[in-house]
Structure formats: C-alpha cells, structure tokens
Symmetry: D2
Subunit: 355 residues, 4 copies
Amino acid sequence: MYSFMNDYSEGAHPRILEMLMKYNFEQNDGYGEDIHCAKAKEYIKRFVQKDDVDIHFIPGGTQTNLLVISSFLRPHQCVISADTGHISVHETGAIEATGHKVVTAPSVNGKLTPDAIQEVLDYHANEHMVQPKMVYISNSTELGTIYTKEELTAIHNICKNKDLILYLDGARIGSALTCKLNDMQLKDIAELTDVFYIGGTKNGALYGEALVICREDLKKDFRYLIKQRGALLAKGFILGIQFEALFQDNLYFELAANANMMAEKVAMIIKEHGYSFYVPPCTNMIFPILPNKLLDELSKEFKYLIETKMDEERTVIRLVTSWATPHEAITQLEKFFMRQARQGDGARQGDGSSV
Amino acid sequence: MYSFMNDYSEGAHPRILEMLMKYNFEQNDGYGEDIHCAKAKEYIKRFVQKDDVDIHFIPGGTQTNLLVISSFLRPHQCVISADTGHISVHETGAIEATGHKVVTAPSVNGKLTPDAIQEVLDYHANEHMVQPKMVYISNSTELGTIYTKEELTAIHNICKNKDLILYLDGARIGSALTCKLNDMQLKDIAELTDVFYIGGTKNGALYGEALVICREDLKKDFRYLIKQRGALLAKGFILGIQFEALFQDNLYFELAANANMMAEKVAMIIKEHGYSFYVPPCTNMIFPILPNKLLDELSKEFKYLIETKMDEERTVIRLVTSWATPHEAITQLEKFFMRQARQGDGARQGDGSSV
Amino acid sequence: MYSFMNDYSEGAHPRILEMLMKYNFEQNDGYGEDIHCAKAKEYIKRFVQKDDVDIHFIPGGTQTNLLVISSFLRPHQCVISADTGHISVHETGAIEATGHKVVTAPSVNGKLTPDAIQEVLDYHANEHMVQPKMVYISNSTELGTIYTKEELTAIHNICKNKDLILYLDGARIGSALTCKLNDMQLKDIAELTDVFYIGGTKNGALYGEALVICREDLKKDFRYLIKQRGALLAKGFILGIQFEALFQDNLYFELAANANMMAEKVAMIIKEHGYSFYVPPCTNMIFPILPNKLLDELSKEFKYLIETKMDEERTVIRLVTSWATPHEAITQLEKFFMRQARQGDGARQGDGSSV
Amino acid sequence: MYSFMNDYSEGAHPRILEMLMKYNFEQNDGYGEDIHCAKAKEYIKRFVQKDDVDIHFIPGGTQTNLLVISSFLRPHQCVISADTGHISVHETGAIEATGHKVVTAPSVNGKLTPDAIQEVLDYHANEHMVQPKMVYISNSTELGTIYTKEELTAIHNICKNKDLILYLDGARIGSALTCKLNDMQLKDIAELTDVFYIGGTKNGALYGEALVICREDLKKDFRYLIKQRGALLAKGFILGIQFEALFQDNLYFELAANANMMAEKVAMIIKEHGYSFYVPPCTNMIFPILPNKLLDELSKEFKYLIETKMDEERTVIRLVTSWATPHEAITQLEKFFMRQARQGDGARQGDGSSV
C-alpha cells in the first residue's frame, strides 16, 4: 500500500548514501569539527550569500526548535507562534519543558501576521505576564502554505521594531523555496530572519537539520548549548557529509522541486474530479476535502493522515509527497479516482468549487 | 596521521550501510513504529533473554542520559555518579539543565562502590538536601575498566535495599562484555539493572543507542518523554535498521571484540617498551603513562587525547581502538616504539613497572 | 483616595498582629516544625473534617501554584486551566518555568466545565502532544464567580474517571464559601478535590497560604519540594501563628463574609443607578459595566482596575472589597453615584438591564 | 530550654512590629510598588552610598539565591561556590532545579579564594563542560567567618578579569559587617560585588531579604523574574515597612552587633573552660569542639546543632546568637560550664589549646 503519510518514509537520496560509503573509513574529528561539516557550511553559505552566519548541524527538528528557543530567551520571555505552529501543538511541550511559554496567535492558512503579533504584544503589558521576545514561523507552514517575500518582510519589520527575534522553522524550506508561488531564495530568508533552519530529514537526508544563525549577538557559545541538549552527536561528520551532498550542487532544491511537482500532480487529479481543498495547494503537503465514503475506499489502497472533520459527510485529509515519490504512485492514485468516478459515487460528491 | 582519539572517527560497519541501501526505498512508518525497529527489538531481547523489557532507540548518548534521568526522578531527587562519570564531567550540565543535581562519589578506577553510595545516602539526611534516588554507572567506565558480576551485584543489592534506580550507561557495553576480564552477558546486565543502554555510536553504528527499560514501573509513557526531549526522530527506522544489522547475529559483539583485541595489542607494545598504565588496561580505551619527550614524537604520527599530567616528566594519555582500527595502525605504532627505543630515549624513561 | 483595587491593600487583621506580638519572644523551631504550625493545622483540620490531610504553609499564591503543579506532574504532563485562570494569564509563565504547559479551555463566567475538560482530553490523543494530568480551577474564580457543589462534583467526577488530579486555587476561598449563592463548606472542598489551598494573603493575613493535600499518594516528600522552590521559610512559625489566629475560631470566614457584604452593598448601589455587570456579582470582586464618562469622574475619587473594554462607550471595571473595607468607603461611593445621577449624565447611560 | 540553634527562632524586633501596627490600615499599592518599599530603598541607598543600584525585597534566602542565579546565567553556565556554600549543600537542589550546575571549590574556613576560582576556570576548558560565569560567596560564611576587604577585593578582581558575576549572599551580612575583625561597610560590598542581598530574616525581620543589584546590565526586567519564581508578594509593602524600620536609622547594624557581642561572650566562656574551636570565632555563629560527655549534659539545658564529628570523643557543635539573645541565656550557659568544671569532667577534657 503506497503511503502519502509524510515525506520521511524512505531512507536517503542515493547520492547521500554514496557519499557516506565513499568516506566511510576516513577518520574524522568528532562533534562536528571535521572537514565535511566545514565543507557543507561553505556550500550552504554560497546559497545564503552571506559569510558571517554560523551554521550548526542538529539531528532533528524538535531538538532544533527547543535548542534555539531556550538558548535565546531569558527565563521570563516567551515565543509567539501561530496556533497551528508545530512547537505549540506537536512537540509534547518540548518548549515548555525548557521553561518557556508558547503564546499562540490566530493564523491565516497556517501563517502568522504582523497584526496577530501586535495583538500579542499589546496584551502582554506588564511583569505579571510573560514577555514576548521571539516570533516562530514555519515556511512552508504546517498547512503547506508559504510566506511571500512581502509577508516575510512585514514580519521582519515588526520584529525589528519591537526587538523580537525572528526564527523560521525550515523543516520544509526546500519545498517552500521551490514552489510556484514562491518569490524568495535562501539568501532572502537569511536576510529577513535572525535564525532559521534548513530541514534535511524531510528532504532526502537520513536525519539532520542545518541551523543558520544570522544575528551576531545570538552566535556566542552556541556549541555549549547544543551539547547540553544532547544534540552534539559524536559522529557529527555524518551530518556534514549529508549536507555536503545536498548543497555541493543544487541537489537539495531539486529534491524539493520534485516533491512539489508530485504534489501538484496529485492536486490536479483531485481537482479534476471536482474536489476542493482546505487551503490552496502549494507545496508538497496538500489538504483535499473528500467525502467519507470515498475515503473508505482510498484507505484500501493508500495511507494518508486525517487532518480534521469538515462536516458530517466530508473530511480533510493530508497528502504528502517527497523527493522519493515515484510516478507509479501518482498513476495509481489517478486510476483510483477514475475508477471511483466511473462507479459514480465519488464525482457526484465533489462540490464543484475546486480552489 | 592515524588517530587513536576515539572510537567514533569512522562511519559505520559496512553491513550496516548495506542494509540501509537495501531498505532505502521501502516506505516505513515514522517515529520508530516501523518493522525494523520491531525486529531490532526482538533481536536484542534474544540477547537480553527477557521479553518484558521496553526498548527505545535514541540518537545519542548524552540525550539518552538526560532523558532517562529526568524521566524517572521527581524534582527533588538526584542521581549519584562516580566523580569520573560522564554525566558529571562531560555533558555541559545536561542533567542539571533538566533540573536534577548530580551528586558525585569517589570512584575506584572509574568504578562506583556500594560504600561510596552508602556514604552519599548517609550524608543526605533531610529535606534541606536533595534526595538520592538513582545510581548512574558506566560499563565499561570512562577509564576503560569494567564491573565484575560480583561488583555489579553488590551495587544492585544496595540499590534494591535503598529503593534506588540503577541506571547503566552502556556507551561502550560491547567492549565491556567482550573483554577478557568480563564475566557477564547482556542478560546479566538486564537482570542487575533497572535501565541501561546499548551504545551504537561507539561500536559501529552511524549514530544511535538502544535504551532498555527493565523495571515495569519505569516504562509508562516513555515515548512522550522521548518526544519532549527532541529524541524521537521522524526516520526512526534508520535507527531500527542499524540495530537490526548489529543484533540479527553476533555482529555487535564481534565489533567490540575486535576493538578490544586491537587495544590489547597496543597495550602489549607499550608494556614491552617498559611503560606502565594509569589504570590496568582492559577494554578498548587504555591509559599509558608516557614520557613527555616521547609524546612530542608520538604527536607527529598519531592523534591521541591527553588525559592528565602524571608528574613533571610524564603524562597520562588515552588511546582508543575501535571496530575499524586496522592492523596497519598497530604495526605503525609498533614501529614507532621500536624506533624510539633504538634512539635510546623512550625506553630509558620507562619505569619498568608495567601494570 | 479610597482604593477598590484589591483585597491586599492593608496589613493584617488586628487579631493576627496581636498574636504575633504575644508570641514574639517565644523561641520556635524553624522551617514550620513549630507548635503554632501544628496548632494551625489542627484547627484547619477541624474545618476540613478530615484528619488524614497534609497541610503546609506557603508564603504566596503563585509560589503555591508552581509548587503544586510541578510537584505532581511528570515532565510530559500538562495542567488544564480555564482561559481566565490565574496560572495561564497572570503569573509570568511561572508554571512553564517549571517545565509544564498550561493548556487552556474556554470558561463560562470564569468557570471550567466537564465538557471543556473532555474536549482537551479528546484533542490530546498521542505522544506528540502533552498529556493532560491535572485540572486547575479557582474558587472564587478570577471573575468573582463560584462553583456550586453540583458543578464541583461534576468536575470531581470527570477527574476521577480520567485519572486527573484536581487542584483548587483558593486564594479567595473564604469569599467563595461565605457568599450567598454558595452551598459548600471547607469539608466539601476537601472531599471533592485532591489538593487545594486556603488563601491568607487576600483574607486578612500579612502573607501566606495554607496548602491542603488530600490525596494520599501526593503527600510524599512534599517538604523537599517546598524547600527546593524556596518556599520553606526559616521563620515558618510566623505563618503558623497567622493561621492559628484565623482558624482557632471562625475569624477566617467572618473576614470573608465582611468582604462579601461590602461588595454586595457596592453592587446594590451600582444596580440602583441602572448599570449592569459583566458577570453576575457574587463574592468580593464585582465587574460593573460603566460609561467611560462616569469613569473619568470615578477615577478622581477611587482607585479601581480596568478589566476590559465593553464597547466604544463603556468599560468593564473590577471593584474589590475586603475584610478591611470601611463603611465610609461605601458611603462615599454611594454619594458619588447620587451626585453623578443628579448631574444627569451617569444615570441616562445606564442600560436599565441590571443583572 | 534555651535554644542556640539559630538566629531565626524569635519573631521580629519590636520596632518592626510597632511600625507594622502603625501602618496597618493604610492602603498601599501591591507588589512592592508602594511608598514604604520606596522609602526603604532610599534608606538602604544611603548606607550603600550609591544611587544607581536596583533594590528588590524578596521573602526568603533560598528564593533569592535561586532567583539571582537563574536570572543572570544562560543555560550552559554554572555558578562557582565554596564546598561549604549554602546553595551547594542546603537548598535541596534549588539551583539545579532552575537548570544550573553548582560547581564547588575547596574553601578555607568557609571562604572561597581566587586560586580556587582559577582552578575551576582552568578545568572547564571547552563546550563539553559547563561554563563558569558566576561566583557565589557568603559573608559571613556558613562557618561564621568573614571576608576582609583585601580578600573580597581579590575575588572582585578575578571576577572582573574573567568576566564572572560576583554574587554575595548576605543572609548574615549584618553580623559580618559589625564583627570586630571586619574592615568593610555596606558601601564596600556594593562596590566590590555585582549583586548581593541584605538578610532580614536572620537579623530581626519577620521575613524578607533586600536584594541589591549593582551592575547595570543585570537590572533589566528583574521584576518579571521575581514574579515568575513566585517571589513577588502581593503585600510587598509588609517587606517595605520592615526594611524601613531596619534602615531608617542604624537599627539593622545594632541588632547584628548585639548578636555578635552575645556570641563573643559565649566564646569567651567556652575558651575559659579550655575548649577550642573548629574555626576562629568571629560573628554570631561559633563552632566549639566539645567532649561528647559534656554535650550529653549540655543537651539537657540547651538546644544546639551538631556540625560534625571531630574524633571519637569530641564533636563540633554550632551555637548561634541573635538580636534577641537575652543576657540570661549567657549567664545560664556560664553557670553550666562552671558546674561542669566543678564536677571535674568537662574541664579536663579541654585540650588547652583554645583558638
């Protein structure tokens, strides 16, 4: 049964594995102080087009989030997140476990807005309440949407004016930066945020995220903090090799573009059969609204995630494609929808108003 | 320049890489709920000879330590460690960062004793002091020594009598259980401790440790805690595949035995040239006491760690072998010592009293 | 200018001061292990009508809250609070600073409901989210409302069924238990909750709260935890003497009843002049909705807190009475309203629909 | 039975109680923003002879310690304390509970030295170990000894050179600054440390400590942090009134001087009977070494604390005097020793070498 559950179901892109094989018996220094980490950092800096950034490789996303947030906030300070933000909902209180409150603000299609941030600031008026000091956004968001340059600039501006640290969770930044609606590059991200990470796990690596610290005053002693949170792996060079493979050429973005392309095809099929979407499809995660009856059938051939109930008869599901999604999976899905249409059920339940 | 710095300088044992290749395009469930983790757990249970243990795969050692200690202690409780214990000295306060004091006790060759534990208990008499509730030991220890079954049983007994949780850090448990002086197997460890981990990183894996929870009341909700500390990797199956490779047959112990054999050869060479050791050599980490002049030369050909100053003229260094140490490295080291001996300097500074 | 800002503007009830004078040169054991704490506990147990409760005296309310919540939860567990709950809004992230998320649920007039609790439980389905384990309520609530016995029993029942700890913040429990709508006594609170505190600070003490732990398995080692959070005062007997004074007879409830009576008079005056309330007035905190123009005048004679904006022309304010509120303050307020009415402005802006 | 157990056995100095009575029905703003706190701060600034310090009143000492240390350190940083330091030994891991390791250094009569600090710095060389960032000392120390100006200056200098925050726990600073060997005033403390507190609890207040932050960059947002740790009492003015009473004239130092004088008398009596001391007696805590047989008798008439076992026949005890110690207690003690001497036992066990 093919799974559209997520973008971390397969191992690593073959070129990563080849490179791990190639360097397997080379001896490397421990804890990320090796030549592969060094090279990978150089390659990433080329894309970022800034030399004065600090780059660290961290095993996973939740770990990166808790590390960044706990390192840069004083005890009384909080982070503002969209109510759909991963740190608020899906990290088992990892941020709170480091002592910091996550204050949520209403999101628009998974995106935070300057107005929502301002409202949080207005509300937190005195020392009886936590002090907002950081803004957390994801790009692409948990709903697969992306920030435009204009939107990110607006958030950048309010953060700058209000002395807030802007942190961008880039677990799926590849997908964001290669989707059709996107108007930014990695260098824009580096200019408009104080700290962000480039996700490896969800874009072809075995594991690992590349954290990029752009703001000078946030760089100090960061390796101490990585170590303290258990995120300084002895074999740091394994992370280095993977990001070397991903960024020595354009591989990282090619993989993400493939994921997006596959999602687009899936979205097309679904639209063609008359179904609409919970949010406009854009990157490699799409959220069709499908009749429950159709889902009963879909479940027999595909794995997917149930996002939320739409109404009594329809459910929002999440379909995710990746660097590894094969054409056959798309073909199989297309056949499924055509078969369902022929049987007359599915199509009639489409509401005709595809997004 | 060959490095005896540590046992995590190379990638992974080829059979692990092969297996990662083999399953690379298979789709697996996320977060460790896949068939490879399941298989790896079954294989490990065969060695442990217990079925009622819970096994979890964690990316790294410090993370495992902080996770275990913070999960099982209440806020006012502390963990007792040898003064040489990794959690006390080399984890950047990772344990304290979760809120718990590490109380140290004097060690004998890196090992904790029931008497030392009892002294800590006696001292911590009332609610103005932290309450000792866990004992942390490493096997092999940070000095490369091992616990005998008798010694571990004695610690097990005091822990049982005093209602202390016994946690064994097995970052190098392979090396411990395959060294000549050892009289235990994995099943003994599982019987005599409440929780322990089997280190992958330092014995042939790319990364990863297998945590084994033996005591029933410690098992509950543990996946929540893994997630909260950022240790629940999305691609948990990569950890599963690695431990599957290590434990489907005897590979894990073969690798460790090789590391030990190489260390034994190194120790032999050093002894033959008249030098003694800081602690009796036993596993894959040995601590020769060498003249500073000799070290000046050694540094030109080999990488190693300086452990401590012995006296004005001699220094204790740490030499570590691994599953990957090639015979040529040993030969090269032998030649070095012979050459030095011929040049007349090194040998005369040997103190003749090899341990 | 008279202040209706809060119920902690004055010192202590004279009988408390007298008793502090009386015992001033008596030597007492430190850290709450003295005869006055012992007596105060006995007196409180008489009201609670249970002998198997543990009582501890804590300097302040926020400290009590953070202490209770952090002591009884494991790291991955959270506390459910009404969105108006003090711990969620007004304690500068004190709970999160101990590592625990506060999950909020919509409140009805400041009160939590079983349905709201059930919804939180339903939502928190797996180990990627924090695990609800405690319910926090306040009685009287932050909006001055109270729980009926039926309501509290319903919450007690869901907590029991779902294995949740029920914690009641009784900063103003005196006011709750002596107001006209109340149908409970302290013994009911002790039967229906697992742990609660009896507020001293807001009902006549210089400072101090009496924490009552009802559930057997929550009692263990609690003094360690008090000490660790810095809440075990050396001169614990000063707390003991105060609660001895408050509970040796009915003083505690007399003071609270006086506060309620004064609030009732204030509410009456406001109603008589045609104004309504944000929530039905009940205890010693009332929330009239007043015209902004009237407030301009009120501010010249009285201090009060602005709660929230009602609409363009009206604001909700908070008026608080206490054990110390003098009749003159009420008279002065009455005169103010009469004067305003005569001047014709205020009265016409009353909406006629007093609650 | 008279108690020499500690200096917090009695209530408050009568002038404090009088002042609490005097202002009891005055309405004051909450949370320390009242006129009495303001006045008390002015009075303290007169003694400190600096106007640019921030002063906050905190309920207790452990709370002050955990608040200061957790507020000024980043997560990976630790505090250096003498091995006898209160934060290391007697606060139930309060500091670790906020996430920070307490690294101990050997003390000389309870005092930390620049050499001991330097050794800690030398040892903590890289990011695998916590980073020392604060030095904690007490004056007077836990052994009743004091720092001379020269000694404190030396510690100040190393802290300045190494960018360490110097924090002085002044739970008994009154006693330190009024003892005969002292050569400092409060203004010297304020010049030589970055932050310190003036203990009220152990010198005549009901409770409360005055925290003085001298260094500009440590002042920011401190009230948030006080609130978060539960240390911002609603009736902050009760603390203000007490410190107003203690510092409006010289009362604070008079009380401390009395405690010292009483201790001196006690020491004299003990010396005269031929006993020596564990550390040279100096302030209001003295540590005589007494024969166990004598202690059996002493216990029948006086309460005291056993500090440590000296040898098989002798024990070190702690005797503490205070602002409240009456002359009769001294007389009674003198009679005890004379009676024991007459009975021939006690005196002969004196070792003749009084310190």
